[in-house]
């Protein structure tokens, strides 16, 4: 069987692998639409402290008041019907620490997605979020003994209010943008992680986010704090069933890497193509800290996501390594932001994108060097590959430099698969499909090699599927 015969099209495979959905049998499902009553209900159900309840209400007012973003894709954004979304769905009564306690249909879902298997094999901890709530959560005992906190955000708020209050909405203020305000008003679930001083967590912690219901809005909230000299690798993955009407995923992720800490945050975003993925991610990197966003965007209808790192302390280093794949009907508007707010900080952004059929991928980035940040260095590289006559690629980088002893570099290239390379590989006996796949694999290699093995294999497989039958 030739490569192109293997799979007829990505959507068929998606339906089989991730696009299935369970019957909707929920503990609690809020009516559609967002207003102060819904926000009040969420806060009451969660039995939250007063400051959080107030923050939610204020955030909702800010959400109403803020205009829609004017960048990205205004046309698609205008399609979001905020009144046709469920802002909160609680699938089951209590969170489980054992897969056996998870209701059968939900457990099956995660079995099909391979989560329990992955947990046994190579993870230090797992949270599995289904709709608005984390339904399962575990952490390896040895990590727990070292004082590593890894739980869902709601439990974090309950059990460690002093830490949460100190950092919550401090990295990404509620007012940052319309969707960060919406998340602050309606947030539920997400991960809370604290790594104590000097503790190096050498195996990844993972969260898996699943949307099941139609017209669902998922607003998880994640906060990771790596204390001085510690290190952590966090991985998140996500999928949803394919419905004909749209769902909204709007997360807020805040990272704090204190002096000398190292955080790597890896995302493999594979939402179905009816999901709007509008996410705000930002990290603070203190003195000598390192923060890396490894960001893969394969799914969704429209993604607008620009992981940011504020380099606050001297010699902090930030990296964003991203790959975007935009197939039929998709727009991946992704990028990165680096704010050099301290001297001798360094950063690197590598962005790779593939646009296929009428897909569109855009790199939108900002590198800012504030006055007083001497001796900074930053390098941005964007590579775009176009496959198909109607594919589109955009590059919108911004550089804003207020210091003179700073080196800022930006480079971008856009091209189709080079004929010479194809010709060379075919002259060595590869058919055109295989030759093209090999070139694409080479193109995304810098990204894939940063992933844990299991993810790299999965990503390669995904890209291979997406590439099927793309011989032009």
């Amino acid at each position: 069987m030739s490569a192109s015969q293997k799979i007829a099209g990505i959507n068929e495979d998606y339906t089989e692998k991730y696009g299935f959905h369970d019957p909707e049998d929920y503990f609690l499902k809020a009516p559609k639409g967002i207003n102060h009553e819904v926000v009040e209900m969420i806060s009451r159900k969660k039995n939250e402290p007063e400051w959080m309840r107030e923050m939610r209400h204020q955030a909702l007012d800010i959400f109403f008041e803020k205009p829609m973003p004017t960048w990205g894709n205004s046309e698609l954004l205008a399609e979001i019907d905020f009144d046709n979304i469920h802002y909160y769905i609680k699938p089951m009564g209590e969170q489980a620490r054992d897969w056996d306690d998870v209701p059968e249909n939900i457990k099956k879902t995660f079995d099909r997605l391979g989560i329990p298997e992955a947990e046994q094999k190579f993870l230090g901890g797992v949270t599995a979020q289904y709709e608005s709530e984390v339904v399962y959560h575990s952490i390896r005992e040895d990590l727990e003994k070292l004082g590593v906190l890894f739980m869902d955000m709601d439990s974090g708020l309950r059990e460690h209010p002093e830490i949460v209050r100190k950092f919550f909405a401090k990295i990404i203020p509620t007012r940052d943008n319309k969707f960060s305000a919406l998340n602050t008003a309606a947030w539920s679930g997400g991960s809370f992680i604290y790594v104590p001083k000097g503790v190096k967590v050498d195996i990844p912690l993972q969260a898996y986010f699943r949307i099941n219901a139609e017209n669902m809005g998922q607003f998880e909230r994640t906060l990771i704090i790596a204390d001085e000299g510690s290190s952590i690798h966090y991985i998140e993955g996500c999928t949803a069933p394919t419905y004909s009407s749209d769902s909204l995923h709007s997360a807020v992720v805040e990272l704090v890497a204190l002096k000398g800490a190292h955080i790597r945050y890896t995302t493999i975003q594979n939402w179905s193509t009816n999901v709007f993925n509008l996410v705000t991610k930002r990290a603070h990197a203190h003195e000598d800290a390192v923060v890396e966003w490894v960001d893969g965007n394969i799914g969704s209808k429209l993604t607008m996501k620009y992981p940011a790192i504020v380099l606050k302390g001297e010699r902090a280093h930030g990296e964003v390594l991203s790959i975007a794949f935009a197939g039929h009907g998709q727009h991946q508007d992704a990028g990165a932001k680096m704010i050099h707010a301290a001297a001798n900080t360094t950063s690197r952004i590598v962005s790779k994108s593939i646009s296929k059929d009428d897909g569109r991928s855009s790199y939108r980035g900002l590198v800012k060097v504030v006055r007083g940040a001497h001796g900074c260095k930053t390098n941005v590289e964007c590579d775009a590959l176009l496959i198909g006559q109607h594919a589109r690629s955009d590059t919108y980088p911004t550089m804003d430099v207020a210091e003179d002893d700073v080196r800022v570099e930006h480079e971008a290239r856009v091209s189709k698969v080079a004929e010479e390379q194809l010709f060379y590989l075919q002259s060595r006996g590869l058919d055109q499909d295989k030759a093209r796949m090999m070139i694409v694999n080479g193109f995304i290699e810098p990204f894939v090699k940063e992933l844990p093995m299991e993810y790299a294999v999965e990503l390669n497989r995904l890209i291979e599927l997406e590439m099927e039958g793309s011989v032009g």
Partner: protein, 433 residues
């Protein structure tokens, strides 16, 4: 859901302009009825155009209010009080033209130039096809303002197949409170011609809103040079709109040295198959100068090629901003486009911003851009000084080295004049750094 649209509450700062103001200007410039009609249409577009939005990249770095004249009264537009002087023709030019606010162009044809090949005179103003303003562009306000109220206009037509004896040199004198020059340069099929615009004079009282249209016919070779050496304090907005027909070859060389607040927008539309456009630009800023450059290469046909190389050097407290767009349309296959912007900062107070943008709607392209912002390499200075050069000379040499490759790509015939301007400006920058 609450209404999320916010209404503009601030008063619109665009200067008032009325039909009556314009008719006086039209009388003074002896305009035909169709030209008057064209101005009236532009006037209503000016009144309706949105005020440039500072959220847009194009206006992020410059406040449009700083560039608009405060008063467009008839006496201002007619250039009352502007002193016109007799100036000698440029010796090697095929024609030398002087433009002043409110005056018809003063044209001196060079001796060696065949009359039949070069038609040059006041702008008709009926807005010949191909120079219609874009409606929705972020800078539409400035375009419509010039179309409505240009107060000195020049039209140059180079006959098909003609090869001009020398460049057409146009000296645009920034005098009086408001100069709105408009130049239409058309080169017929296969023609070879060079237009040199020298933007001179100026001062803290002067605002310039300029517009030049370059139309290169099939297979024409057009060189367009814009040298801006305004006096301190001048504020100006210059628009260059070029169109290249089938297999036409365009070169635009621009130098921005003078003025206090300057915004320049250059667009080359590659309309015909096989059209080519190269832009080469140099900006040297010092003191409190603010330069804002925007270039656009739009590939509208197949097998088109474009390249832009823009370099800026900043001393003092100057700021250079650059936004550049390459757009390749879906029906423009087998196109190539390149863009480089490099910024050298000589002082700790100078700033540079760069936004190079790509919009590629066709797969069969080769496209790249690069941008850098960097200080003078102290190792280079140290090396030169250790070889006995004074620190001034060492710095000059480093800056020359930074600009060298760009200067070398300027055609031989244009280079000496350009280089001496650069040297002159550098000399003054050094005192400033």
């Amino acid at each position: 859901m609450a209404d999320m649209t916010r209404e503009a509450t601030l008063a619109d700062p665009r200067p008032a302009l009325s039909g009556a103001d314009l008719s006086e200007l039209c009388d003074q410039l002896d305009q035909v009825e169709t030209a008057r009609q064209a101005r009236r249409e532009s006037l209503s577009r000016y009144a309706q155009a949105g005020f440039p939005d500072r959220v847009e990249h194009l206006w992020r770095f410059t406040n449009p209010e700083h560039l608009l004249p405060s008063d467009l009264a008839p006496t201002v537009l007619s250039g009352a009080g502007v002193k016109v002087t007799d100036l000698p023709a440029v010796p090697e030019a095929s024609a030398t033209v002087d433009l002043w606010a409110g005056r018809q162009p003063v044209v001196q044809i060079g001796e060696g130039q065949k009359k039949a090949e070069l038609t040059i005179g006041p702008l008709d103003g009926s807005m010949a096809a191909g120079t219609v303003d874009e409606q929705d562009a972020p800078s539409a306000l400035f375009r419509h303002l010039n179309s409505a109220a240009w107060n000195t206009g020049l039209q140059i037509d180079v006959a098909a197949g003609a090869v001009l004896s020398g460049p057409v040199v146009v000296r645009v004198h920034a005098q009086g409170p408001a100069l709105l020059p408009r130049i239409l340069f058309r080169a017929g099929g296969g023609a070879e011609a060079t237009l040199v615009e020298q933007h001179v004079d100026g001062g803290s009282e002067t605002h310039v809103i300029g517009r030049s249209d370059i139309v290169a016919g099939t297979g024409a070779r057009v060189r367009h040079v814009v040298l801006q050496t305004w006096q301190d304090g001048t504020r100006g907005h210059l628009t260059v709109q070029s169109r290249a027909g089938r297999d036409a070859d365009l070169l635009t060389v621009f130098a921005t040295f003078g003025g206090e607040r300057v915004k320049m927008e250059l667009t080359a539309d590659l309309q015909g198959e096989g059209a080519r456009s190269r832009m080469i630009g140099v900006a040297l800023g010092g003191e409190n100068q603010r330069f804002d450059h925007h270039t656009r290469h739009r590939h509208l046909a197949g097998r088109t090629w474009s390249d832009i190389d823009f370099k800026s050097v900043g001393a003092g407290r100057s700021r250079s901003s650059y936004t550049g767009l390459i757009r390749i349309e879906e029906n423009a296959p087998v196109s190539e486009a390149y863009q480089v912007n490099r910024n050298l900062l000589l002082s700790s107070q100078s700033r540079a911003d760069a936004i190079p943008e790509l919009e590629i709607l066709n797969e069969d392209v080769s496209c790249s851009h690069g941008a850098t912002v960097a200080p003078v390499d102290p190792d280079q200075l140290f090396y030169l000084e250790s070889r006995g050069l004074g620190s001034d000379d060492a710095l000059r040499l480093v800056v020359r080295g930074f600009l060298e490759k760009t200067l070398q790509s300027i055609p031989e015939s244009l280079r000496p004049g350009f280089e001496s301007l650069v040297e002159d400006r550098l000399g003054r920058l050094r005192e400033d750094s």
